[in-house]
Symmetry: C2
């Protein structure tokens, strides 16, 4: 099997030979998930990291006040999973759920270690991506503190317009850390204030 999307993503970090790519792909297990199906839920260990070959998912938790909190939405070309749980073997606090029928290419811990030893591109890829994700999460933490609800909405429109094509509005509100009612009001205000622009 080819998985051209995956190949393109890996090439983004360093060139890959056919042989190395095939070796890597041999370690992956493709899996399909129906809409609303969970890849894993909280209270279980995340045993596989996964590449989103097709579809759209949300990574979320239910907090101590029984509120859902969404960490991210993922679409094609994203890697998903709970690295903390994956490496430590502890149960995850988070859940990963398909928002649309999705196809994932998954790798378990043994395959991960094999790939790390035998596929330089994979070693480089996840090393770089982990550091980038860490940075990006720190940036997001700060943005969450700094921005008002309206600013968060406008920023998301600018940075991730695809989300508005695939995700219902009340989920976007939760992702932005606000109530669906608040997002609705913000949209109304913006529509009134700036129909021109």
């Amino acid at each position: 099997m080819h998985w051209p999307r995956l190949r393109r993503v890996l090439e983004g970090v360093s060139p890959v030979t056919d042989g190395e790519f095939d070796r890597f792909c041999a370690l992956l297990v493709p899996m399909r998930f129906k809409k609303k199906q969970h890849v894993f839920t909280d209270q279980e260990v995340c045993r596989r990291l996964a590449f989103v070959n097709e579809g759209c998912l949300r990574y979320y938790l239910v907090d101590n006040k029984a509120e859902e909190r969404i960490i991210y939405f993922a679409q094609e070309d994203w890697w998903v999973g709970d690295m903390g749980s994956f490496f430590s073997g502890n149960r995850s606090l988070y859940s990963l759920q398909a928002m649309e029928p999705s196809e994932l290419l998954t790798i378990d811990k043994d395959a991960f270690e094999t790939a790390r030893a035998q596929c330089p591109v994979w070693e480089a890829f996840y090393r770089i991506k982990t550091a980038q994700s860490y940075s990006a999460t720190t940036d997001r933490y700060i943005q969450f503190q700094s921005l008002s609800a309206e600013e968060k909405y406008l920023q998301l429109m600018k940075k991730s317009p695809w989300i508005f094509q695939r995700i219902p509005q009340h989920q976007i509100a939760i992702y932005l850390g606000m109530k669906p009612q608040s997002l609705s009001r913000i949209r109304k205000q913006l529509a009134e204030r700036g129909p021109i622009s």
Copy 2:
């Protein structure tokens, strides 16, 4: 030079031989910083990651509203620096400043790559720590959303009591994402409500 704190921290991940530890230490440059001195500031590239052998620092930025936001306080045994800037070579958004006279053991990018190739303990250490930091930051992002100002304060008391021994209260308030006045009020309320406990 011995650097027993550093050795103990590395041993936390995997055993180290004297030879490997010496090889690693030879790649480090010790540096001292006075109180309030910056290790690096925003607008410059973070060229060194550093181990806190002694002292206490804060990692912060000035946001788009000209407000200081503190990402973390670090004390002995922490590794500090902006990994995003360090690896990408882009200017950092963040600044790192000594809160007390501090001694750092620093490593630049060349030494880092050398160490990664030649010191297995270092390769394993930063790989594991990066993933852990990423997880921890995600957890913190969620906590920031979920908890009230008072809950954040109580949680910090429980999880990082050392901070209250070394850091002035208004800096703690900023770290918790609130105004110094708010933290003062919260402390007052808690003192009134629960002198018994």
